[in-house]
Symmetry: C2
Subunit: 335 residues, 2 copies
DNA sequence: ACAGGTTTCTACAACGTTGTAAGCAACGTT
DNA sequence: AACGTTGCTTACAACGTTGTAGAAACCTGT
């Protein structure tokens, strides 16, 4: 029992277009006509058919957010902020999981073309500038690492500076054998490269040697990878007095592995992460980390996208940097 | 530069409908015609306009999943499974955050009527049967606690049995002063009531008294609430030898508070949770919990919804129960 | 060569909405 | 009284797709 404009129109004794005008808040409708129409709408419980409206208007009011994995807390928290910011504009957010693979990311970026979506906020791991080049000019904002010279807007934080700052924090506590966990050599590892660069810079600042054996790779950045990387480090006889993990889930895994090895955090080994996920504020010990302003990132992304959707195809791609702050907690400073 | 069926048709020298037939995999198309059309599609990079298709077909290929909060790990993990199961059917999932409020939940359930969505999977906290009654028969599946005698399909687990089993596990370890954390008196607290009932039943089974002072309420089920509840318990002089938290995030908060109080887990206090979120497998100590089969829950929900979307409005509402298992870990058994 | 079927393709009319252009009042101005 | 203005309303034609019905071409077996 679904009703159309036509049904409302018949009931109110006006034309279809007049009902449409009422629904869309058109000004020049006589008050009594408007009242009659609104009454009919209420009686029939009329709701517009969005597919038809979209077809006519060429807009859907839906944007997509494509992230590698939803159950990585960082992305879940980010998604929350994007959804909130989008809701303020009356937009609905369609969430897409790419799994971080280039193929699924391409699909997400291409899906943009099927008119279901007004724009896309994409957090790419594997996508390259070439992949993006082929897209017709549908609005897109990239999050995280910048795809070099990509044709799209971008929001991120200064990974090198942040990694340098948190490593310096460890140095400042007197730590000298600082391990880095999470390096990646794959093309997907853009964040890893930047954070490693910041780590190396901080060591250089402090006059410490960069020791290859202290750098542990991690294929992915889950808790299990962090735990495995630290176990591996310890098994090779390395005895770090601090560990900088390239994200918080790695760090939580590292805490676990250190605990299993009987090492105390932070007394024997200080641990630092990156992302400031909620888990790190309640872990034992709580986790020192870099806290990017996720709320700001989400909001900026939505705003830039909105500008493009509203017709601005002229301005060259913008590259915004969101603030972050160092959050020192128990894992580096005895409580 | 977006193309339509008509453009492809002109380029391939066939009718619009033939192109449509090729796009939709209609069988009776001559191989050479098909080839010409496909070539034209590729050359123009044609992609169908979903709004138009939806308008014509009355289907959108989109279902909504409405959960209280995305950054509660349980819901994020569940969302992942729903998205995966839906993708296998070629469906896209639109994720909605209700915040657990009745109002937003009503909006999510009503939004179903605007034709943007073929069906809804809703995880309600506050919604009542009356709220649902008013909906025109658009397919809906409810997750979590059953809205009593609701008019919709439902998937959940046997909360009472699971709570009873994990409490019995604590009893079996010789614990006698077992606290319960997470009780709620609000109408939203359906899960809380069931889990409390299971807890009480297990105590009765073991001949233990139900002691009101060992039951700690928690307004929400976040880490902070779990920590606060345990601090409160301890502050009133209660000294439990075990704590059953009604979900894992509460339990992780409880671990934190016990740690701050200098109590060892599990030696001094055993801790059990509910949900089996990933965090609990890497916390220190790892968390004993009830592990609902989330993958199954997501899949069943999608399947039931699919049956309704495919036209089955006859079968009375079904109520499926997904399996769970007890996962004993370090927080109750010294590793 | 022909009836009867099957395959392949096409023209047309929807789906429900909104933009456009235009009609019809009622009004104030000359 | 004739004229433009303004306010309100309407008919019609799109938007891009697919279902229906049917035409044209192609087979088969007699």
């Amino acid at each position: 029992m679904r009703h159309r404009l036509k049904d409302v129109a018949e009931r109110a004794g006006v034309s279809v277009k007049t009902v449409s005008n009422v629904v869309n808040g058109y000004l020049h409708v006589r008050p009594d006509t408007r009242a009659r129409v609104e009454e009919a709408i209420a009686e029939l419980n009329y709701r517009p058919n969005l597919s038809a409206r979209n077809l006519r208007k060429g807009r859907t009011g839906v944007i997509a957010l494509a992230v590698p994995e939803l159950d990585i807390p960082y992305f879940a928290e980010l998604a929350r902020h994007v959804v909130t910011a989008a809701a303020e504009r009356g937009w609905t957010v369609l969430i897409d999981q790419t799994g971080g693979g280039a193929e699924r990311e391409r699909v997400a970026a291409a899906g943009i073309g099927d008119h279901m979506i007004d724009g896309l906020i994409l957090s790419p791991l594997a996508l390259t500038a070439e992949d993006l080049a082929g897209l017709d000019g549908t609005p897109m904002v990239l999050l995280g690492e910048r795809v070099d010279h990509g044709p799209a807007d971008h929001v991120g934080i200064d990974n090198v500076a942040a990694a340098r700052e948190i490593t310096a924090h460890l140095v400042g506590l007197g730590r000298r054998r600082i391990a880095a966990v999470g390096s990646q050599r794959t093309p997907e590892g853009a964040s890893a490269r930047l954070r490693l660069a910041g780590y190396a810079a901080a060591l250089a600042d402090a006059g410490l040697d960069y020791d290859e054996s202290l750098v542990a790779p991690a294929p992915a950045w889950h808790r299990a990878d962090g735990a495995a990387a630290v176990r591996q480090l310890l098994a090779t006889g390395v005895r770090p007095d601090a560990v900088f993990c390239f994200n918080d889930t790695l760090a939580l895994g590292a805490l676990r592995a250190l605990h299993e090895a009987g090492l105390r955090v932070p007394e024997d080994v200080a641990v630092a992460g990156f992302d400031d996920i909620e888990d790190g504020r309640f872990s034992v010990p709580t986790l020192t980390t870099i806290a990017p302003d996720k709320e700001r990132i989400g909001r900026l992304a939505v705003e830039m996208l909105a500008a493009r959707v509203d017709g601005d195809r002229e301005t060259p791609p913008r590259d915004l940097t969101a603030p972050y702050r160092l959050a020192p907690r128990e894992s580096t400073q005895p409580g």
